[in-house]
């Protein structure tokens, strides 16, 4: 138990980070949670600042994506999403999922955490990560809204699919060398509900966010002039890949549908053979055996279809969603470049206009107000120099920002490609194996049929199959 500082426990949602101490967590009934120390950094809401502190160059050196392979051996954080539960309030009904974290990382005060999160929270996390790392490829979230005529939002299949996708989402973040170090990620995994709510309220204010948006829109409108070729190539690839993945998703869904319909019809065969056996004498055994074999094949088919639904389809769907992310990342990078280009243009304009301007209009004005032309000219020139210097400083900053953005994107792009290749290769390979398994099971069923009949007609089983 903690001897805590004075805390107003009646108002758990304290305003400023510093007031929240670990002692507040005493309110938590959960025995598993270790009590926290009074680490005020824990509640540092603004993760925006942390990423921009060092120069781009050193940043790139830090993120050694090639060391990715080692990470899987030295994985030090494990996250699971499970146990969906329905919550009913006066206003709404929603589902929360249990998020379990086990970690040995030193940034975490404890080695195990258990929290409950709803979809909104995951969405918040994604937005924060994208804000902090505009040119990193944040893993996709399952869709917010239900489409394709599935009316029941809380249908079991839907919840199960979503749960698995959320699990994937968090694990991909945990595997990412940069994203997994995000403060927001840590808060997401560890904070209690009200703490998370409080943390969410922090960060850049509304007005500054508006400012960002306005700049972003302006940049979009202007468009980027000289996109480097490699990003063009990535853009083209993403476009094509997106189409292919969408097709793959659709095809797989169709296969599942056809297989389900096939199963429905097949299920009717066995009973007919059983019915038939009731009229026969000599044929009773073979007919009953037929019925049994068909039933077994039906079960095998069902299992196989289930595999496709719960394993192959989700990964394909995830990659369909990730192409949207990729497009957004490319757009954001473009915007950064556009901003940079715009500022450069502004500078160029400023430089060329410096002479002409001071000559014409201001002289006219000055003569009107009766000022000394030379003095005024000097003042103007000073002011002008200052403005140019400011612009140049801004441009330098933007140049750094652009270089940093490009490098992180390139790095993450190569990481994404590797992941994609390995994920899809694994998924397809496993699917092929599952298909083989299905046929092998059916083969065994029918061979057992032949075996059971072999005692009778000697010529029956010996005849070669075509």
């Amino acid at each position: 138990m903690m001897s805590g500082t004075v805390v107003d426990s009646s108002s758990p949602t304290a305003a400023a980070p510093d007031d929240i101490s670990g002692s507040v967590l005493e309110l938590d009934e959960d025995e598993d949670l270790e009590v926290f120390s009074k680490d005020t950094n824990f509640m540092d809401g603004s993760s925006l600042n942390t990423s921009m502190q060092t120069s781009p160059g050193s940043m790139v050196n830090q993120y050694k994506f090639e060391e990715e392979e080692e990470q899987s051996d030295t994985k030090d954080i494990f996250v699971t999403v499970d146990n969906p539960e329905s919550h009913v309030t006066a206003i709404e009904t929603f589902i929360t999922y249990r998020v379990l974290t086990k970690t040995t990382r030193s940034e975490f005060d404890s080695s195990e955490y258990e929290v409950r999160r709803r979809y909104q929270d995951f969405f918040w996390l994604k937005c924060k990560l994208e804000e902090a790392h505009p040119t990193l490829i944040v893993p996709p979230l399952p869709e917010k809204f239900v489409m394709k005529g599935m009316v029941e939002r809380f249908n079991n299949d839907f919840i199960e699919t979503r749960k698995k996708a959320l699990h994937k989402f968090l694990n991909r973040i945990a595997d990412h060398p940069i994203l997994s170090c995000s403060e927001d990620f840590k808060v997401f995994l560890t904070a209690q509900a009200w703490e998370l709510a409080s943390h969410k309220k922090q960060g850049p204010g509304f007005l500054s966010r508006m400012g960002d948006t306005v700049r972003a829109v302006a940049a979009t409108v202007r468009g980027v002039r000289n996109r480097p070729e490699e990003f063009n190539a990535i853009q083209d690839y993403v476009e094509a890949f997106s189409q292919k993945m969408t097709s793959m998703d659709k095809i797989t869904q169709r296969i599942i549908k056809e297989q389900k319909e096939y199963l429905e019809e097949m299920k009717e065969c066995g009973p007919i053979y059983t019915l038939w056996s009731g009229s026969e004498e000599e044929l009773v055994e073979p007919l009953k055996m037929m019925a049994s074999c068909l039933d077994r094949c039906c079960r095998d088919s069902e299992e196989h279809t289930q595999y496709l639904s719960s394993n192959l389809l989700p990964i394909l769907h995830e990659y369909v969603l990730s192409t949207e992310t990729l497009k957004a990342v490319l757009r954001r990078r473009d915007n950064i470049q556009a901003e940079f280009e715009a500022k450069n243009e502004a500078l160029a304009t400023k430089k060329t206009d410096s002479e002409a301007e001071s000559k014409m209009l201001s002289l006219a004005w000055d003569s009107l107000v009766g000022k000394d032309p030379d003095e005024i000219r000097q003042q103007k020139q000073q002011k002008h120099k200052g403005e140019i210097k400011e612009l140049k400083e801004e441009i330098d900053k933007l140049e750094d920002k652009l270089e940093w953005a490009n490098n992180t994107l390139k790095g993450d792009w190569s990481r994404w490609q590797k992941s994609m290749r390995s994920d899809l290769k694994a998924a397809f390979t496993y699917t092929a194996e599952k298909n083989m398994e299905y046929y092998e099971k059916c083969l065994a069923v029918w061979e057992s049929f032949l075996l059971s009949q072999r005692t009778e007609a000697s010529e029956g089983g010996d005849r070669d199959e075509s």
Binding site: K244, S247, E265, Y273, P286, C297, A432, M436
Partner: protein, 448 residues
């Protein structure tokens, strides 16, 4: 050499029919002519030297013809080439060319109708269906469709082989001429006068009458025929739907092939793996056509027995008819005898119009009574003859029919069991193909 074992499916039949392991085309040359003669009368399948043992028969080809029909209208029809060759000639290594003639489906129908009428106690083998039924959507229901024609050719051959291996039917001369006499076969058939019998047979089959004492076995057999018909119909319907669905599953995989191929164009490392996997997906999608064609054979085997149930029912009905006629004759005799008694003793025990009128209008004269008695006596004599005849007919029919039904039952059990086994073999083949394709695909994926 085109022989009677034209397809695997037919080989099965033949071997099943003759009950021996050897291929029947290598004929049994051990029997002397007199034994041959005796054996024709013998209805036991195992010992019979049916026509099939002496002659190779096949329906080798099908061709389209056009010609003028009965009402001088132009029509297109298909003819089938029947080839025959004496077994002896082949076994001596001479290998002469077979004799052949062309027949169309309607002639087969004529032959069958003749056999139905002439041998009412035989469960006559059915013809392949006239029109395609129980089709799944990809299969054409068009009679001119080459696949349908091919399956019909096989079915017709099967029909001929079954007749040729039947202990009774195979000895029929009309059947023999059907196989060998190109010209004027139709006239010969009609000369037998079977048409007249055909009409009365049809009428009898469709008439409703109640039999008081049918042979229980026949009643059970008829019931069995109905059940079998129902169950096979259901099976064929479901099977058609299953085929449709299976087709869908396989064909959609073809889309994987297309997408993999397109996708491989934008990938560097994964390109080759995707491309070759795509080919396997295409192969997988294409493989369903063969699979379903093989399955069609299974459906055909079931169909044959579906149609057999009609023949079975016909034999049972014929028994009922015989029995009914016997009962009618017996009833008639009894009533005549009763009338005689009444006339002799003068008592009217049974109500009759004659009795009433004589009561009303006075008795008849002794002469009239005498005449009546005489007529009755004759009628009773005739009636007794009739009953004896009918009885003998019935017994004969029951004896012969039951033998053939037993033969049919054994054949049916053998054939259907074979069919089930061949279905299993077909499924195994399908599974092996599937394993192969996905194993290949897996290899491609692992190289991605």
């Amino acid at each position: 050499m085109k022989c009677a074992c034209a397809t695997n499916y037919n080989t099965v039949r033949m071997m099943a029919d003759t009950g021996s392991e050897e291929i029947a085309v290598i004929g049994n040359t051990d029997l002397t002519p007199s034994e041959l003669e005796n054996n024709i009368k013998n209805t036991m399948v195992e010992k019979g030297t049916t026509l099939l043992k002496r002659m190779e028969i096949s329906v080798a080809e099908a061709e389209k013809r056009t010609g003028k029909n009965a009402v001088s209208m132009q029509e297109t029809y298909t003819v089938y080439l029947i080839e025959t060759r004496a077994v002896d000639a082949a076994s001596e290594g001479a290998n002469p060319a077979p004799d052949s003639l062309w027949r169309r489906y309607s002639e087969f129908e004529l032959l069958r109708n003749y056999l139905l009428v002439t041998y009412p106690f035989v469960v006559v083998p059915p013809l392949p269906e006239k029109r395609a039924e129980f089709v799944w959507h990809k299969l054409s229901a068009d009679n001119m469709d080459p696949d349908f024609v091919e399956r019909r050719r096989v079915g017709l051959e099967n029909f001929l082989l079954r007749v040729a291996s039947h202990p009774v039917l195979s000895n029929d001369n009309i059947f023999y001429s059907f196989l060998t006499q190109e010209q004027s076969w139709k006239e010969v058939v009609f000369e037998t006068g079977f048409q007249a019998k055909a009409d009365s047979r049809l009428k009898a089959l469709n008439a409703t009458f109640r039999v008081k004492n049918p042979d229980k076995r026949f009643a059970e057999m008829k019931h069995y025929g109905d059940e079998l018909q129902s169950v096979i119909s259901q099976l064929l319907r479901v099977r058609a739907r299953v085929a449709d669905r299976l087709y869908g599953v396989y064909k959609v995989h073809g889309n994987y092939g297309r997408v993999f191929s397109e996708w491989s164009a934008i990938e560097k490392e994964m390109g080759d793996g995707l491309q070759s996997a795509g080919h396997h997906m295409d192969a997988y999608a294409a493989s369903v056509d063969d699979i379903l064609e093989e399955e069609e054979h299974y459906a055909d085997q079931l169909k044959e027995y579906l149609f057999y149930t009609e023949a079975l029912r016909a034999v049972c009905r014929k028994h009922e008819l015989c029995q009914f006629e016997l009962e009618m004759a017996a009833q008639d005799l009894t009533s005549k005898k009763q009338q005689r008694e009444e006339l002799a003793t003068g008592t009217v025990r049974t109500f009759s119009l004659k009795g009433m009128t004589s009561k009303l209008f006075g008795q008849e004269t002794p002469e009239q009574r005498e005449a009546k008695l005489k007529t009755l006596e004759t009628q009773i004599e005739d009636g007794e003859e009739m009953v004896k005849e009918k009885n003998a007919e019935c017994e004969e029919f029951v004896k012969n029919a039951w033998v053939d039904i037993e033969r049919f039952k054994e054949q049916k059990d053998r054939d259907l069991k074979e069919a089930l086994i061949s279905y299993a073999i077909m499924q195994i083949s399908m599974c092996k193909k599937g394993i192969q394709v996905w194993s290949n695909a897996k290899e491609c994926f692992s190289k991605m």
